[in-house]
């Protein structure tokens, strides 16, 4: 089935999104951008970024802000006002509708918009790899019937069946899923590139009704940029006596820098504008170096920001509502990234506004959600669960070894090979753990079982395959299989994902809080495990080598072994590592002396002095509940943290 795309046909920029795998996704333009400038040269048929670049060359044939003319009469007051500043020619067309004249040809705003939609359609088709014939297009809430009709026609000219014309604020609310949250009243604050809109919505019987709208059709990010630019230019003029605004090249660089500074100051407190060779002075090139702080920027534009509050108050009044009655606030438009804007809205409503969705994309995303609802994709979507917490097993030293990481989409399965921790260990205990902490004891144990009947073998030799499998219902199946005998044990755990949100939050928070502490604890245990392993290797080497080891070396090794054995849980990680290293170095002497002897016997058997275990094999925590006869000294390690 063909996809239906959601389009935000904006005054300054447009964006497009589509439902994919049950979630909305923004489609990038062929230029690799998430938005397309709503600019068209209808004569050359150039759209978007490319059209924007040739505006200066063809000011009379490059159309922008065409949305301001959509479905309006030429005599309309707002059209008359726009004619004054828009560089292209606007005329009265059929039935007195506003049309654009370029080089003797007339274009309706619908035709111009259709060209933008055509590009959007083409980009979406390239991305999705199939024909697109249907779309949901958004319009401002204040658009009247004629303007909505015009938008619909634009879609049809572009070859798109418009499944629905959706209000922009409603789309933004859908993007946040506010309808599902049963937010009764929503305020949508939209400060874009060239317009400011505030809408008050009320949810009734699953449909958002626009109670009131207000705003300023000529207030947006561009005004902010101009303020910053003027501030720089005035300052530069004062210092050097040169007006940068008169030099188009300098002006362009200044404009770019002003916008960049504005964006940077949303995340940092200070930025530097660095424009060497900005212009030519009397005594050679002039440079511009300027520091701008966030506080200064806020100062420069404070009245612009403050001026948005009046329309908000008016909208509330029209909706017969007070600000404390608003359940949710949604931020739309790039300018809402500015901390001061966010702060002001938050202070005004006394509530945290929603801003997790990219404010440039939120309307298109909401349109895609609506498109998904219309095609049934949203309703029918199979909700795939994720594991809220990491699942793993306890390994030697009480360490949590993860098998399935948190946030993995289920159904899923994963297996890993483990081994024994002691010689002749015939059984292993699988302790299934859930949680984010590195130590087993700090996590929740979901269940445990024992796999026995492992043939006696030296430690690290047996191979036990532990498999985790979570089905679509969240039921966890854990099995352990001895590769040698094929013997298998398993356990089924219901509701491994069925933790309450509070529980998950608590466990995740704890993990964060203890992260540093836990890591050092885990590192220490790992050091200790290494030490134990080395003791084992050392004792084995001594035994294997027998009389071939000179008595003095043997004695030295035994002393070092004893030293490592004196280490307790109270010893520090560094202490453990140091003594282990000591032993490891002494141990090499066995090898050396044996090689010397071998040289005398010409070629003897080649046995490396220290056997490093393959890294990949993790040793299963030794369990001696069944293995009472276990006589090795490192067995108690597994029990220390067993609680």
């Amino acid at each position: 089935m063909a996809k239906v795309i959601g389009i935000d046909l904006g005054t300054t920029n447009s964006a497009v999104a589509v439902m994919e795998g049950g979630s909305p996704k923004i489609i990038y333009s062929s230029e690799g951008r998430n938005v397309i400038p709503s600019i068209v040269d209808p004569i050359k048929h150039i759209i978007g970024d490319v059209a924007k670049r040739q505006m200066v060359v063809n000011p009379k044939s490059t159309v922008f802000s065409v949305k301001r003319l959509m479905g309006r009469k030429y005599n309309d007051k707002s059209v008359q006002k726009d004619t004054e500043w828009l560089p292209y020619t606007i005329k009265s067309g059929r039935e007195g509708m506003a049309v654009i004249e370029i080089g003797g040809k007339t274009f309706t705003p619908q035709e111009i918009s259709a060209m933008i939609l055509q590009k959007i359609k083409a980009d979406a088709e390239a991305y999705l790899g199939g024909k697109i014939t249907e779309a949901v297009i958004t319009v401002p809430a204040y658009f009247d019937d004629s303007q909505r009709q015009a938008t619909k026609q634009a879609g049809e000219i572009a070859g798109l069946t418009v499944k629905r014309i959706l209000n922009e604020p409603t789309a933004a609310s859908l993007a946040y899923g506010l309808d599902k949250k049963h937010a009764h009243t929503v305020a949508v604050y939209d400060l874009g590139g060239g317009t400011f809109d505030i809408s008050i919505l009320e949810l009734g019987e699953g449909v958002y009704e626009v109670k009131s709208t207000n705003g300023d059709t000529h207030l947006g990010g561009d005004d902010f940029d101009r303020r910053i630019m003027d501030y720089f230019a005035d300052d530069f003029k004062k210092e050097h006596g040169v007006d940068l605004r008169k030099d188009p090249q300098a002006l362009q660089r200044l404009k770019d820098s002003a916008e960049k500074a504005k964006i940077e100051l949303s995340s940092s407190l200070e930025t530097e504008i660095n424009l060497p060779f900005i212009t030519q002075g009397k005594d050679g090139p002039l440079h511009m170096v300027f520091k701008l702080t966030r506080a200064k920027l806020e100062n420069i534009v404070s009245d612009l920001i403050e001026s948005t509050i009046k329309p908000v108050e008016a909208a509330l009044k029209d909706a017969k509502m007070t600000k404390d009655k608003i359940d949710e606030i949604v931020m739309v438009g790039g300018m809402t990234r500015m901390p001061r804007v966010f702060q002001l809205v938050k202070e005004f409503f006394g509530k945290e506004p929603n801003r997790t969705v990219n404010p440039d994309e939120v309307v298109a995303i909401g349109a895609a959600v609506q498109a998904g609802v219309l095609t049934g994709e949203v309703k029918d979507v199979v909700l795939l669960d994720v594991t809220p917490l990491t699942l793993g097993v306890e390994t030697l030293g009480g360490v949590m070894t993860p098998l399935i990481k948190r946030n993995t989409t289920v159904p899923t399965s994963k297996s890993e090979i483990f081994s024994t921790a002691a010689d002749n260990q015939t059984s292993v205990e699988i302790n299934i753990l859930q949680g984010e902490r590195p130590m087993a004891g700090d996590n929740k144990s979901l269940g445990r079982f024992i796999l026995d009947g492992i043939p006696p073998a030296p430690r690290g030799v047996p191979q036990v395959e532990v498999s985790f499998d979570i089905d679509a219902n969240g039921i966890l199946n854990v099995s352990a299989k001895d590769k040698a005998t094929g013997k298998t044990q398993s356990i089924k755990i219901m509701g491994s994902t069925g933790l309450s949100k509070d529980e998950i939050d608590k466990m995740t928070k704890e993990a964060d809080e203890h992260a540093a502490d836990d890591t050092s604890k885990k590192e220490k245990i790992e050091a200790k495990n290494k030490a134990d392993n080395l003791i084992y290797v050392a004792e084995k080497s001594l035994k294997d080598a027998g009389d071939k080891v000179p008595a003095d070396i043997k004695k030295e090794v035994e002393e070092k072994i004893a030293a490592v054995k004196t280490l307790t849980d109270a010893s520090t990680k560094d202490e453990i590592e140091e003594k282990t290293k000591d032993l490891s170095e002494t141990l090499q002497k066995i090898g050396q002396s044996m090689y010397q002897q071998q040289q005398q016997q010409k070629q003897g058997e080649d046995e490396p002095p220290v056997e490093e275990k393959p890294e990949k094999e993790k040793e299963e925590k030794n369990n001696d509940k069944k293995n009472k006869g276990s006589k090795k000294e490192n067995v108690q390690e597994g029990e220390v943290v067993d609680s």
Binding site: E20, G32, V57
Partner: protein, 159 residues
């Protein structure tokens, strides 16, 4: 008898349910396949784009150095820039030649229109444009020429 009727009634329902699941499964599978294909493409894209992003941040510095080069003749600086340009070339970063060519908004951005002999040609390059691995990553900023009589109608546009 009644049983049979029951069965007959049940049959179509369960079949349609199966069909429903089947179509959902197939759709999910298709989505997945497509995602897989796109992921491969995107991986390559991301790799080049990551490099391109870094280069983009580096280019303003190169611009400045080149401006310095024009104003101050220093052998060391010239050598350093020469080396930098060679490195760019090896890595696949190429500069777009614009001066004297027809203005092309796909690779250039017009900053100013100036009086000139020929109409619609690039009169001056203000900022170099670059292509990385054959893809334009930064358009050139240029002055475009226009014959004298036409310049009167020029209007400056602030976007």
């Amino acid at each position: 008898m009644t049983k049979k009727i029951d069965n007959n009634n049940k049959q179509p329902i369960s079949v349609s349910k199966d069909e429903d699941w089947k179509s959902k499964y197939l759709r999910a599978l298709a989505d997945y396949r497509n995602l897989e294909k796109r992921t491969i493409e995107e991986k390559y894209e991301i790799k080049t784009r990551a490099a391109a992003n870094f280069i983009l941040k580096l280019l303003p510095v190169v611009d400045i150095l080149e401006k310095v080069e024009k104003n101050v003749h220093d052998e060391g600086l010239e050598l350093a820039l020469k080396q930098l340009r060679e490195m760019f070339k090896i890595e696949g970063l190429e500069k777009i030649e614009v001066v004297g060519k027809r203005f092309d908004p796909y690779v250039m951005e017009c900053i100013e229109v100036v009086e000139a002999e020929s109409e619609g040609q690039v009169a001056e390059e203000l900022r170099r444009g670059y292509a990385y691995k054959g893809k334009i990553i930064r358009v050139a900023q240029v002055k475009v020429g226009r014959k004298k009589e036409e310049i009167k109608n020029k209007e400056t546009v602030n976007t």
